[in-house]
Symmetry: C3
Subunit: 266 residues, 3 copies
Amino acid sequence: MVEEAIKVLERLKEEVPLVHAITNYVVINDNANALLSIGASPAMVMSPDEAYDFTAISNALYVNIGTINNETKETIINSVISAKDHKKPVVLDPVGCAAIKSRVDFVNMLLKIGDISIIKGNGGEIKALSGESANVRGVDSLDDSGNVDSCVKLAKLTNTVVVATGKEDYISDGKRVVKVKNGTYLFTKITGAGCTLGAIMAATSACSHDKVISSLAALLIMNIAGELAEKECNLPGTFRAKFIDNLYLINSDIIRKYADIEVLEA
Amino acid sequence: MVEEAIKVLERLKEEVPLVHAITNYVVINDNANALLSIGASPAMVMSPDEAYDFTAISNALYVNIGTINNETKETIINSVISAKDHKKPVVLDPVGCAAIKSRVDFVNMLLKIGDISIIKGNGGEIKALSGESANVRGVDSLDDSGNVDSCVKLAKLTNTVVVATGKEDYISDGKRVVKVKNGTYLFTKITGAGCTLGAIMAATSACSHDKVISSLAALLIMNIAGELAEKECNLPGTFRAKFIDNLYLINSDIIRKYADIEVLEA
Amino acid sequence: MVEEAIKVLERLKEEVPLVHAITNYVVINDNANALLSIGASPAMVMSPDEAYDFTAISNALYVNIGTINNETKETIINSVISAKDHKKPVVLDPVGCAAIKSRVDFVNMLLKIGDISIIKGNGGEIKALSGESANVRGVDSLDDSGNVDSCVKLAKLTNTVVVATGKEDYISDGKRVVKVKNGTYLFTKITGAGCTLGAIMAATSACSHDKVISSLAALLIMNIAGELAEKECNLPGTFRAKFIDNLYLINSDIIRKYADIEVLEA
């Protein structure tokens, strides 16, 4: 499975997918730099009037609801419809939906009108969307227990691939489950690590029909780059720069050397 | 007084306050990373529809008017009312009010409808709110003379704690006055140092009923981290990363060792 | 011509021009830090209600349409009119206009109602505004051939100074043409290098009546700082910090030593 994920990275470097990222204001710069570093082409078109047409010429859509307002909600809706009309993969990042209940309704609406490929959230967000109670503080999840079950449950419920992040990350399409053990605690000390993962996941989703594999590729790229950056510096300010450096350096050999995953029963 | 400020930092590390930060687009990422580095939990909820309820579950509210528009003004109003209803501390950062007169009116309106705990601005902004003339260039203050007087004056006028930043920083509640001599000139060479201070001030305001002490804690955390970062690198690009590194490292012993303050007569 | 450009930098350091930058959300922080590093004073006022008056007290206006929405379009229009009324130089950055056709109309409208001093875009954007077809991927230009011709053509068509960036950069007012050979490929590996150039170009435009010379000054500052940063680190995360460090360090001697330009026939 790691070899299949490596092929996704190789295809990405060749194809340079254009990722239409509608993301939050906190991480918008980080997301763009991360996408450039791995070899994708980011574009953050945010106007409702431009969204439909721009998604149509993109290779994937990333939707992050971290700082939505009335205008960006409209932008998101237009893009999600366009992605469905033009058969573009969509990664949906339901930031904050465990703390802000109206966001669950917005996400459910998007699941209804669109054709979402992947939902990626932290454990708390995935639990909230599965209808379970979640222990969160603002946008952060405080309890990783049960993440794998909620991940599988939501995948079945929504018929999408679901990624639940935490100390360990899980990917499931309701049948297969993959556990990714790579990563670094420093991702919780900088803002927007989850969002950067989502943006990378959109880029890889354009490079494989199998969204479990494309999600695995994104998690390996992200988490291994984080591990290598941590080795260079474990202080968050310098770590952020080193993380981008390592995203830029990552390649097949590095992934092959460090990948630490487990395939589980659903 | 330094020992009391240190207790605020210790409480912050224990309690991990959730800070609802409605801040400007320039510094939103920096503010989030600074809050994470000191051990707080940031959330930048910006929709008018979500603001009231989110402030209610937060431990403190940070309001920065640097890039306000019609929608964020509404968000701010809803959050300021919620903070009053739910007795949450509010730090108000009147960015640019010395150059843009309509912002003085907006700030005065917030002071009327809300229960603002702390006003923090550079000398020019504090003078403008005190009804004095200020020598500024855009959002920057060009003259520090008289900062202490304006600080005390505005504190009495508004019945809040006021912090006036400059080469030296002043805190006053109209009775007590504290002068903080720590800091680095490099804060004027990077964008948003004042805004980052405001965000940190919101985090510490959740950890003490005495807002003079909580503000002092924030100034010591910020300014000493800046001094230590300057020692590592005095060029602004690298300094920014080192500053976040040092915010992450700061602790009671470091503050005790470097704090350089003076308690004055009001 | 390099000596004249150096004089612009010296004037900038003396005069500290206030740059009203209406820029996109991706690069807004980078733009502010770049402006501070070269010695200018940035202010990102984004409200339609505040725009007219703020441009009036600024020394130059930078307009970047990268993430426009309905509100920022209004802000831009108000500022462009104010710049005309108060005779302030305007740098217009038509980000994405080659991929999003409605942006060409918006730019043409601004050219009609305003008094634009400089249009700066990548080759694809300049071609799109010249009415030529352009090979682009999202906001990136994929083909530099013909950039010089489109640059001269658009300068004549619009009666402005035009800067077309690419592997080599061109400046033209329709009569003179200057080719700038400095630069680094790493500008294509980080987000917003073009936008940062535009912001710097606004700062220098406040320091010379000759906008070919002021644009040359900006390109030399930007590109030489990039070259020097590349020598320190060729990985994008660390490069970004080193680039800001080198913008801060740049001076007459450095520009004199490294400038690599060619004056061509129009």
